[in-house]
């Protein structure tokens, strides 16, 4: 049992890390990875929603009728997303302004519904908790890695701290939308090369 829990947790960190291996949830991945701060904020929101919805859905999995399961999953996910949105507004208002529409959009993020449908509705509470935490943390790490590249090259800073000093001329391409695609593509390529070996 303990081995299973660890396996479900660890798989989210490398084997099934959402944006790179499953290539899911790309819309916020591309949009919020301009700075590391935004990426971590988004990641924490996803960890919270994913873990809570996984636990609740797996807890109630035998009570939810098959025909309306998607509607029930969405209600659970939307509830937690709204809670995150309100809490963010109350405590980290500047971050809320920066992430803007991407917090409410977590509701329609494929990762959440995907985990609910593919995992939480078929497995026990403990395994679903591990799965939610693993995938959530994996997502956060992936966003942070992508954001580090883009922020360091695009602004010359890391977490708003200057890296190269004032003489650095930033690649403003990296913080624009095409830069996000190029960066994501390169990271996918590196991960695939590592996997092959």
């Amino acid at each position: 049992m303990a081995k299973g829990v660890i396996h479900e947790f660890v798989k989210g960190l490398w084997e099934e890390v959402p944006p790179f291996r499953l290539v899911l949830g790309l819309c916020p991945t591309l949009a919020v990875t301009k700075t590391v701060e935004n990426a971590i904020g988004m990641g924490v929101a996803v960890i919270f929603v994913l873990t809570c919805s996984n636990v609740i859905i797996s807890f109630l999995r035998n009570l939810i009728p098959k025909q309306v399961r998607i509607a029930c999953f969405i209600v659970v996910i939307a509830t937690f997303v709204t809670i995150v949105e309100l809490v963010m507004q109350a405590f980290t208002y500047p971050l809320y302004l920066k992430l803007g529409i991407f917090i409410p959009l977590i509701v329609v993020n494929c990762i959440l519904l995907g985990r609910a449908e593919a995992f939480a509705s078929k497995n026990g509470v403990l395994l679903s908790l591990a799965d939610g935490l693993g995938i959530g943390i994996g997502y956060t790490l992936a966003l942070s890695a992508l954001a580090s590249f883009r922020e360091i090259l695009g602004y010359g800073t890391f977490y708003h701290i200057s890296v190269f000093g004032p003489s650095f001329k930033p690649f403003s391409f990296m913080v624009k939308a095409p830069g996000a695609f190029v960066c994501l593509g390169l990271m996918l390529c590196i991960m695939n090369m590592l996997k092959k070996k």
């Binding site: 029930c72 209600v75 659970v76 309100l86 507004q89 208002y93």
Partner: protein, 197 residues
């Protein structure tokens, strides 16, 4: 038929529980969210106007009924006495509504400062109504009995170069604010007397 009822019940119960939970979270975060919004949207402007006050005007605020809506009045404490108030009004600018906070000394009925909060004016031209201190300074010390107009309209305010419409918008917002102040003054004084006494 029984199956239908089951589906219906499942979705209804899910939605009802979620709705209840959300209204609970909302009511417990509402006051804080309002404070955060005021702090980050109006806070910097308000601080500039109430320079040297001994309290936090965002905390010490009250609402008064004005026409159909409520006006939020911010209190500024100077030398241990609630001496100044600030209120926001809107004027029509070049790109939309301009929000202006006007600070008024209630003892002398003179303006202690104004500041633009939200606007959609042309960056670098109309936006200087917000950023250029020499434009703002012109309102300082004028009595609330003044009718505020730009010089082109026969008034006393030098418009921002190239942005007469934006400047007009600010003037009309200031006029609205002082009108509201004059109308609400008895109620404001009553509130100030009962403030911390």
């Amino acid at each position: 038929m029984r199956d239908m009822l089951k589906l219906f019940l499942a979705v209804t119960i899910f939605s009802a529980v979620s709705g209840g939970l959300l209204s609970l979270v909302r009511s417990s975060t509402q006051a804080r969210i309002e404070y955060q919004q005021l702090k980050f949207v109006k806070g910097p402007t308000l601080k500039e106007i109430m320079k040297g006050c001994q309290n936090d005007p965002i905390v010490d605020r009250f609402k008064l009924k004005f026409g159909k809506s409520n006006k939020t009045i911010f209190i500024g404490v100077f030398n241990g006495k609630p001496k100044a108030i600030a209120l926001e009004a809107f004027g029509k600018g070049f790109g939309g509504e301009i929000g202006v906070i006007v600070g008024i000394d209630v003892e002398t009925d003179k303006i202690i400062g104004i500041g633009v909060t939200t606007h959609h004016e042309t960056p670098g031209v109309g936006s200087r109504a917000k950023t250029d201190p020499s434009f703002r300074e012109q309102f300082k010390g004028l009595s609330v009995a003044t009718s505020f107009k730009v010089k082109a309209d026969g008034g006393q305010i030098d418009a921002v170069t190239g942005a007469t419409i934006s400047s007009r918008g600010v003037c009309s917002a200031v006029n609205d604010a002082v009108q509201a102040y004059k109308k609400l003054k008895p109620e404001i004084l009553k509130k100030l007397r009962s403030f911390r006494s």
